[in-house]
Point group: C2
Chain length 299, copies 2
Amino acid sequence: MKKAGVAVVGYGNIGRCAMESLEHAPDMECVGVVRRSGSAEGISGLSAYRVVTDIGELEGVDVALLCVPSRMVRGTALKCLSRGINTVDCFDIHADVVALRAELAAVAKASGAVGVMAAGWDPGSDSVVRTLFKALAPGGVTYTNFGPGRSMGHTVAARAVKGVKDALSITMPLGNGVHGRLVNVELEDGAVFAEVEEAIKSDPYFASDRTEVREVECVAALNTLEHGVNMVRDGISGCTAGQKFQFDMKINNPALTAQVMVAAARASLLREPGCYTLIEIPPLDLLPGNREALIGELV
Amino acid sequence: MKKAGVAVVGYGNIGRCAMESLEHAPDMECVGVVRRSGSAEGISGLSAYRVVTDIGELEGVDVALLCVPSRMVRGTALKCLSRGINTVDCFDIHADVVALRAELAAVAKASGAVGVMAAGWDPGSDSVVRTLFKALAPGGVTYTNFGPGRSMGHTVAARAVKGVKDALSITMPLGNGVHGRLVNVELEDGAVFAEVEEAIKSDPYFASDRTEVREVECVAALNTLEHGVNMVRDGISGCTAGQKFQFDMKINNPALTAQVMVAAARASLLREPGCYTLIEIPPLDLLPGNREALIGELV
């Protein structure tokens, strides 16, 4: 069976982990990496791959894994989809998912491609669990409690603030789905802390959470990739209250995000043209291998 | 919007709960109940519904919920599917799922109907979680620990044994996916306990588990509908080991089973003809309501 050709677009934490997941996938192979620099210089493990600045330079790309910050997803996805290349992203701005999905779907349908969006762990696999919880007990509330752990999206957003040299945003669960953000910032020379603090607190990524910004000497010394979630639903099935569901995980954040993206890439090859979130995809499509054997094993 | 017409076939614990879930479903309505007796006599809450002995007597049936013991699923499903009626069952003999799915699929495709099978909680919603766990961390083992709680399938199987007047099978989690079965039996007059014990222990439902059979005076006094599961996976995403996932629930067993079946009935209306397990169905299809609104809420 011919392996699906996958391009890794962006080579930060997630891109590196995506490469590792692809190397373990029996049905996919990496056909190249897209980086701004177009070079593998200084990165171990990339020498076996073509590294280019534009995805158009690669051949045999069935799916592009967009391992780029959320704010770069739209432009990158539109470019790939319009060329008929499937895309998978881990876009994580929850409030913008529906609009971006509609925009990507229109372009994908026009070119016969498939986009799978918001395919990390939250949004992503957690969304599948939330959907399942609601189906199992239609009455009730699901609380999603994140962390404590490093939020990659919030860290990238904080780093983009003027005057910030480096940042690390830790998500603190306060219970019942309420979160605090503890943003550690290392300032550039001459930056004013109060201005940086204000810019971070008014950023849409942080505006709705209790955010504390703290100046530190060296962000690198605090680094962690661990994260987790605790989702709880106490709901009603039919007339029966007190149905209790809980989902917990403690994970390495970029490794899980990348693994979900690779699974979504596989599923993208089975969809009609359009754009889908993970809750619109049969879970079985995420796995490689013989479908009947998997049903026998997992059902 | 026209509501989908649903028939409830069988009116034990699950059938009664299915009726409750249907009464809370905004997009479905019960068009009748199929019972061997063809009568609502002695059952409160059924007077508003047509009760018949054969599904052919009902009109407007889009989906039949087969709330019957697993061993009656095959015959009942084939009858409905061959008439072009969608079916949902909660068949729970794991080892026979693949073969029955193939048999039902052939009949369903020939008549343009859809079967959703093994759509309770295990097999069923737990299967979705197992599939998701494997997608999130392809390396590793998932342990499914049931109970303690009453197993409906095992209880029905024990009741069917000659000499058994009433039975209650409790599933005991022994850790790492190993289970014991504690089968409480009330004997018929003249029955020999040792023979009943031997018959239960050699039944395929019990043969692979540590089974203890215990004679009691009155099974009714022990009755419980509570059950639960604890599923654990410690797996590897890409090269990253130590990814930890856990799913827990404490639920009323027939209420949850029935709710899953009603959700699967909804999903059956969106499928191409054939037979599907729950892991072959997009989770979003399990929910009523506007799809974009649900994506905005759940993703």
